[in-house]
């Protein structure tokens, strides 16, 4: 999903609502993220475009809140509770997901299978 700066981004997204799980002192979501504008995008195994510096889901814990909510490995996170995640540093992304005051996060994620599904349904 490449984009041109200055041009609006269009993507087919899915809403994923994750209810955080309390584990001792922490609220966890049960997945790991990779990427960010301060990271090297060529090492991202999930992106179609190797210059994409977005935030990707690199791992989903089994049975965790993220898996239950329908998040999949390889998803690109576009927004979290309304905050943009396409042009953030790795640390900013992590902070936006792990705010202690929020128990629910609503993500907008996109994946390649979604795009293809829409294209197929448009053709048929």
């Amino acid at each position: 999903m490449s984009y041109i700066p200055g041009q609006p981004v269009t993507a087919v997204v899915q809403r994923v609502e994750i209810h955080k799980l309390r584990q001792g002192e922490n609220l966890i979501l049960g997945f790991s993220i990779g990427g960010g504008i301060d990271q090297d995008p060529s090492q991202n195994p999930f992106s179609e475009d190797k210059t994409d510096k977005g935030i990707y889901v690199t791992r989903v814990s089994e049975g965790g809140p993220a898996e239950i909510a329908g998040l999949q490995i390889g998803d690109k996170i576009m927004q979290v509770n309304g905050w943009d995640m396409t042009m953030v540093t790795h640390d900013q992304a992590r902070k936006r997901l792990t705010k202690r005051s929020e128990e629910v996060v609503r993500l907008l994620v996109t994946r390649q299978s979604l795009q293809k599904a829409v294209q197929r349904s448009m053709l048929s």
């Binding site: 041109i4 700066p5 200055g6 966890i28 979501l29 997945f31 790991s32 993220i33 990779g34 990427g35 960010g36 504008i37 301060d38 990271q39 090297d40 995008p41 060529s42 090492q43 991202n44 190797k50 210059t51 690199t58 791992r59 540093t89 790795h90 640390d91 992590r94 997901l97 792990t98």
Partner: protein, 551 residues
Amino acid sequence: MQDRLHILEDLNMLYIRQMALSLEDTELQRKLDHEIRMREGACKLLAACSQREQALEATKSLLVCNSRILSYMGELQRRKEAQVLGKSGRRPSDSGPPTERSPCRGRVCISDLRIPLMWKDTEYFKNKGDLHRWAVFLLLQLGEHIQDTEMILVDRTLTDISFQNNVLFTEAGPDFELRLELYGACMEEEGALAGAPKRLATKLSSSLGRSSGRRVRASLESAGGLGSSPILLPTPAVGGPRYHLLAHTTLTLAAVQDGFRTHDLTLASHEENPAWLPLYGSVCCRLVAQPLCMTQPTANGTLRVQQAGELQDWARVHGVLKGTSLFCYRQPEDADTGEEPLFTIAINKETRVRAGELDQTVGRPFTLTISNRYGEDEVTHTLQTESRGALHSWMEALWQLFFDMSQWKQCCDEIMKIETPAPRKTPQVLAKQGSLYHEMAIEPLDDIAAVTDILAQREGARLETPPPWLAMFTEQPALPNPCSPASVAPAPARTHPMPWGRPRTFSLDAVPPDHSPGAPRSVAPLPQQRSPRSRGLFNKGPPRTWLQSPV
């Protein structure tokens, strides 16, 4: 009690010296004496130390001396055993198996050691609380040789512990086991309770907070030896700093590679230990081995080589067998002067050698053939030696070389480079550094240049005039840009893509940064940042990591 310990200690030293003398092994005895003297010196120094850092250095020397003494003693005992067994031993009529071939020795060098740390992100990013500091060093043991690295001070602003040393072991066999041990000690005093009577100490420690109380109790209970047995070599100063074993691992020939590799560490301490450090559990290093058969000639002599195709024409050359090739020089002196050989015959695992008894050409005895397969072709060289004895010694050298190659495996593919270890510099106190992450500058200028590059490529003709917002970025002089200005040319003039997104990994398998306090801010242009010495602590140019964080 102290007196008794002193007596025991003296008796032990006497015993050690006696054993060394009786074996008449002057080399080992000399080394042992040297270590014992060093140990006495370190004890005296430790008693005289006032500053914590000096005490740590002295304790480290003490620990190293102790380990060396123990290993020499172990070696002495082994040799004594072997001697005793040899004397009482086997009857000469026992014809054992023919003398087994032993592989050649080699040099093993380990360098660029780096141990990543895994701080809790709350500690790391918020920087709250006192800055706990630890002193760590590595102890490396191969056979009976023990070497140590310099002592490095670690605090929570460091992401990994990097040692700049190259440690070289000579006389290693292909079955070597390089044991790596990481020792750490707390910089701060381990509580004023270190010397207090035990009952008072227990009372106080139980009334302190949970975690600090546990730590104090652990430090009191682990009284005695610095990792070695207390009875044999008791510690003289109980109040001094104590090193704890944090992790260890053993590396063998399988780990040798001409490049950086990551190995697992076995963690040996737990959180209650006062010197506990959050280790990630791996160590990266460059472990290379140079077997002697690769660097030194194993055989040389006069040979007559049959020229390819011409049955009657045999050239007289001086052959030198070194490494994986047989170099044939015109004259014996050429080998020393560095002249190019007339030709070179490759000898590797696939080469086949035969003593040429089957195809003896008339009047040409004592030949041997060497065959190599290059793709579809098979190239055979026929060599004639001067006598039966010479033929035998050449064949012997070749068999030994094949055996060495089978034992040293990947080390015989190509000579691995070993840099001579630099002279040990005096340990410097690590200046208090800012957090690595906080000072890593993100270069918007870099990104903008690359982004407008994509623009130029994608949009093509539509981008004759640069978009108006670009002016905002190119006219900003205030942005910190340690990179040379040449790499950030204004977009419209750019015709070729800037090399970005280079596949450089700065994860576990890369060259560590140079933590020496003298490292200047890097002003070199981007392509030069490969060498570890010129790399500064800040500003790494294009991002090289692709971090993953659990949320």
